[in-house]
Symmetry: none
Subunit: 402 residues, 2 copies
């Protein structure tokens, strides 16, 4: 839907919308005939919301496409992930909770090992420990000099991974990776595709030459390979697009960053599920929309730990029960993608979803689970449309056309 | 589907298609656990067609989007309502059964009250009665003079609402509203965005100045505010797109107008359901496609009158029974949108649909109703694709690709 058509439909009121996201919620049985994690979990509170609402299955991108966290969340926020592409560098900066500005170009850096011949020996520098990464970044930060008017920010991610942000007027992000993608080759020179990016590529070249000099006596991490240069072009905010004053309650930096990308206020990092609940209650009157993010469903899925994923779903179900106290106009519970323990990875399977509001058309589902959602009244839907259904149920969308 | 791809698939035969549209058909229960209007209605004839056909749920625009009559019907006729936008003025002209030509620019007019200071006191002139509106329009028609080569048509809609159509060579519709949207402000001057619209804006300005003079001693309706200027750009007709010689049987002007918009022959206004049946029989051999429109399901929904909506569905069910006599190759029964009595308004909920033809793949639904349609063989579908399924079942679409 074109933004100008959508924006004519937006109306504002006091009805609250909560999106409760269990990362990687969708699952698979571990053996034929078995249950998925969500089907196996005892979820009395979610089941009660299912009985009062509608369920369905959501495709974050397209059937068959396995989404990363970026596209999965953009779709939940109503932004077509095939249209709003987030550069790797920008995603990495969001992932370390860095506050990007519109003067920033970001890139992902990997510490690597260069041989004396200048060729790459190890693209990941033997996966150095994170504390060595931090020590080296500190050393680099102290010695690098860039021309006046240009700032740089260098942040450790983990192991060999780091993030670079260049900040200045007129920078461009259309720069190739310097990572040659295989050992035995020299790092590639950064080249810009347009004048702004050419200027920026020169800065990158200077940065990398200085890093080479600073790290010349280090081993195995004696150089960076850079990937995914991207200028930060945030999409229109949730407030601009939907008239929703929005807040994020999330423990992990990537999701806090993704919320910030669409203009949400990101509440201070909560240390526990209890703290998340306290935050929600405390700020409930100040916002229209809350994005509440639970990470562990995904982590246990990636570990292949079926039982732990079941347990954490049950724990979140208890948390969900508290929402009756606030009784939001619209509650949606779903995930950004599936992460079946069986696959130990993100997957393409559609994601179970429930939506509860007073004006839902009832369906016959009574439990929250993939096979039940298949018969739900939301049907099978593109994740990016969930926000429209939520806005509609919150009576925040006017009629389209007369 | 691109028109050039579609047009290669079209083939013609004698198989008839009937779209029976109950306006605002979809509904909601009035209380949790209750039935929708359609589920509550006794519909033996529709149920029999369901058993012989397939059912499904249709989204007129997108999930969550509540359509007006224009977008809802365009979708039924197979035109993407997000692509074919109908301007407010054009829709108003269609709504008074005015036959637009491709030389026309239309606008919606509201009688208003201007104070002596030239500022708007009441944007709706106290909602004057329709007969006063007619009297004033008559007076204006007699006195207005526009340059040679330009015709105008001024039609009463109801209460303070009227429609203006300007007809001439080279007119343009990109003109702002003169309605300032709130009392206490002066009407805005009409300005055109391009040369054709600038020329037209001058005509509008002259028209409005003359109206001001003609109505100067009237009270409270002493001026017009204009909104929704739009040039009439009809889409390709049903005959061009689908090879369907099409006729509309509809009692209400808006729907007659929408049918005319896509090039249907609009049969004379039938005064009763019985007259609609007589028209259908009389013209059955002359057309390939019939759009038969019943309005009252929507009207009672908007009134919040659940029981009356149930009753009129039962009445239409009786009407439907007669169709066995004609036995069309394809019968589709659905609505242009939902109008739940519970909400007293159009809504975003998907619309129940049935399609019956000899080559349907049977599903297990045996009754016509929202919750049954959820399990039907049509699935959840965009309304704009219904015409393709109907054409296919009428064996009017060739294979795509070899």
């Amino acid at each position: 839907m074109k933004p100008e058509i959508l924006s004519d439909l937006i109306t504002r009121n006091d009805n609250k919308i909560i999106f409760l996201i269990m990362d990687g919620l969708g699952g698979l049985p571990m053996q034929p005939g078995g249950k998925t994690e969500l089907e196996a979990a005892r979820t009395p509170n979610l089941d009660q919301f299912v009985r009062e609402g509608v369920t369905g299955l959501l495709d974050p991108v397209l059937p068959g496409i396995t989404p990363g966290s970026g596209p999965g969340h953009l779709a939940l926020f109503g932004y077509d992930p095939l249209e709003f592409l987030i550069g790797r560098g920008v995603l990495s900066a969001l992932g370390v909770d860095f506050e990007l500005t519109d003067k920033d170009v970001a890139a992902r850096l990997n510490f690597c090992t260069l041989g004396e011949d200048g060729l790459v020996k190890d693209r990941r520098a033997g996966r150095i420990p994170t504390d060595l990464n931090e020590k080296l970044c500190q050393k680099i930060r102290q010695q690098i000099k860039l021309p006046p008017g240009v700032e740089f920010f260098l942040m450790t991610e983990s192991e060999h991974r780091a993030v670079l942000v260049l900040r200045g007027e007129g920078l461009g992000g259309n720069i190739n990776d310097t990572d040659p993608q295989q050992a035995g080759l020299a790092p590639r020179e950064p080249v810009g595709e347009d004048p702004a990016s050419q200027h920026t590529a020169e800065l990158v070249k200077s940065f990398l030459q200085q890093v080479r000099e600073i790290l010349k006596d280090e081993h195995p991490a004696n150089m960076f390979l850079a990937r995914g240069f991207a200028r930060f072009n945030p999409p229109p905010s949730m407030l601009e697009r939907y008239g929703l004053k929005s807040a994020a309650i999330a423990q992990y930096p990537m999701y806090r960053g993704l919320a910030r990308l669409v203009g949400m206020d990101v509440l201070p990092k909560p240390e526990s599920y209890e703290a998340m609940w306290e935050q929600l209650k405390k700020h409930y009157d100040k916002y229209d929309f809350f994005f509440v993010h639970f990470k562990k469903t995904d982590s246990y899925g990636e570990d292949g730990n079926f039982q732990a994923k079941v347990k954490v779903i049950e724990q979140i179900d208890q948390w969900v029960g508290q929402l009756r106290e606030l009784n939001p106009s619209v509650l949606a519970v779903t995930g950004d993608h599936s992460t079946p323990s069986f696959l130990k990875n993100h997957s393409w399977h559609p994601v179970p979803a429930l939506l509860r509001s007073p004006s839902c058309r009832p369906d016959e589902t009574t439990q929250f689970g993939e096979k039940y959602c298949l018969r739900g009244g939301l049907g099978r839907m593109s994740t990016k449309h969930l926000i429209l259904v939520a806005l509609a149920n919150a009576l925040r969308l006017k009629k389209f056309g007369a």
